[in-house]
């Protein structure tokens, strides 16, 4: 099974090893660190859950069945937050190889959720800035 990011309702960016995600439909925003950020980037790259699971079990120290179940619950949580959906399309041929570097002890991935800016995010109140056209925008 593969997942895909729920664009265009979800936007995301990795800043200094931290993944920041905004769900533009709910107004919630999220931070992913460490294992969670690693998994997110492999989902973005197009890897399926099975290959992500294999990679985690190879790269991290820990009980393989626990790693597997933590990955599944993490994926369920991402789905529950409306950040990803199942992707039935076959994996593209050019899915990049997962970095095989050793990562150390497996710490279960978590999603940090913030709901304190829903009013601002839901309204798209961000100012329209286009110096060429002026404030506000004009056609």
């Amino acid at each position: 099974m593969r997942l895909k990011i729920r664009t265009p309702h979800v936007i995301h960016q990795t800043i200094d090893d931290e993944v920041i995600i905004i769900n533009l439909e709910s107004g919630n925003y999220y931070s992913l660190l460490n294992v969670a950020a690693d998994i997110w980037s492999t989902i973005v790259a197009g890897h399926d859950i099975d290959s992500i699971s294999r990679w985690l079990r190879v790269s991290y120290d820990g009980d393989p069945s626990k790693i597997e179940s933590e990955l599944r619950s993490f994926a369920d949580a991402l789905r529950g937050e409306g950040l990803v959906v199942s992707n039935d399309v076959a994996a593209p041929a050019d899915v990049p190889e997962i970095d095989g570097a050793r990562k150390g002890e497996f710490v279960p991935p978590t999603i940090e959720r913030f709901d304190d800016m829903q009013d601002l995010i839901l309204l798209d109140p961000v100012h329209e800035i286009d110096e060429a056209e002026g404030w506000p925008h004009q056609k």
Partner: protein, 244 residues
């Protein structure tokens, strides 16, 4: 009753189409003690003439050209207005939006009652006659009373800017979101007026491309806020919820 001076900062850059409406809505305020500062971002469409045709408008022209490296026109204009403001209370209006006449009077009274550092109000969107709803705009927002932590609803004590700082011109957009986040992180007491006192005009289709353009800045603003909160989280507790 003592009415402290309220300085209103109204930035405009080639916004002549609705500028008169915006200015008139400030001049029509029932609150008696207001100065209106129009900060002109080098307009070439007659916005300057409109602003200067009002005797009571303080007209300020930005001196930096818009193509200067790192120059962020709108937050720069807000900041310039703040530095020019003489009042202990500062408010903001966009050149395409308008206030209801009791906006400032209502907020000044509640700011004192609540002993808050700043206040925001509810607002409504309205569609400019003759325009279609932009495709990306959530049509269900029309007719709703919306909570508005946006500059157009903001009335802040000057000390709010002393404590939080000015709008951060490092960001290409979402500088207002950043300011509200920083004020929230610092625990500045705020009050929300539960009345619609601002009307925001929807008048073209730029919201669509705008949302895409603004996304990286918004992500960066939120990311930096999370980092700041994480830095102090050990002592004060986080505002987030861990899942999974």
């Amino acid at each position: 009753m003592f009415d402290p001076l309220v300085s209103v900062v109204l930035p405009v850059r080639n916004g002549s189409r609705f500028l008169t409406d915006a200015i008139e809505s400030v001049l029509a305020q029932t609150y008696p003690h207001i100065e209106l500062i129009v900060v002109d971002g080098d307009s070439s469409d007659g916005s300057d003439e409109i602003a200067q045709s009002y005797e009571d408008v303080i007209y300020v022209r930005q001196s930096l050209p818009p193509d200067e490296d790192g120059w962020r026109g709108l937050p720069d204009a807000w900041n310039l207005g703040i530095t020019r403001a003489r009042g202990p209370l500062i408010a903001f209006l966009s050149a395409d939006d308008r206030w209801l006449s009791k906006k400032i009077a209502t907020q000044v009274a509640l700011l004192d009652r609540d002993d808050a550092c700043y206040s925001t109000t509810m607002f409504r969107f309205f569609l400019e006659p003759g325009y279609a709803v932009p495709p990306s705009f959530r049509a269900e927002l029309f007719g709703q009373d919306l909570v508005g932590r946006i500059p157009e609803t903001l009335l802040a004590r000057r000390r709010a800017f002393d404590e939080v700082g000015l709008f951060d011109t490092r960001y290409s957009a979402a500088q207002d979101v950043d300011w509200f986040l920083r004020s929230q992180e610092m625990g500045l007491p705020a009050s929300l007026v539960s009345q619609v006192l601002v009307e925001k005009r929807v008048h073209d289709s730029n919201l669509a491309s705008n949302a895409v353009i603004n996304s990286p800045a918004l992500l960066e603003v939120l990311g930096r806020s999370i980092k700041r909160r994480r830095d102090v989280a050990s002592s004060s507790g986080t505002q987030s919820e861990h899942l999974g």
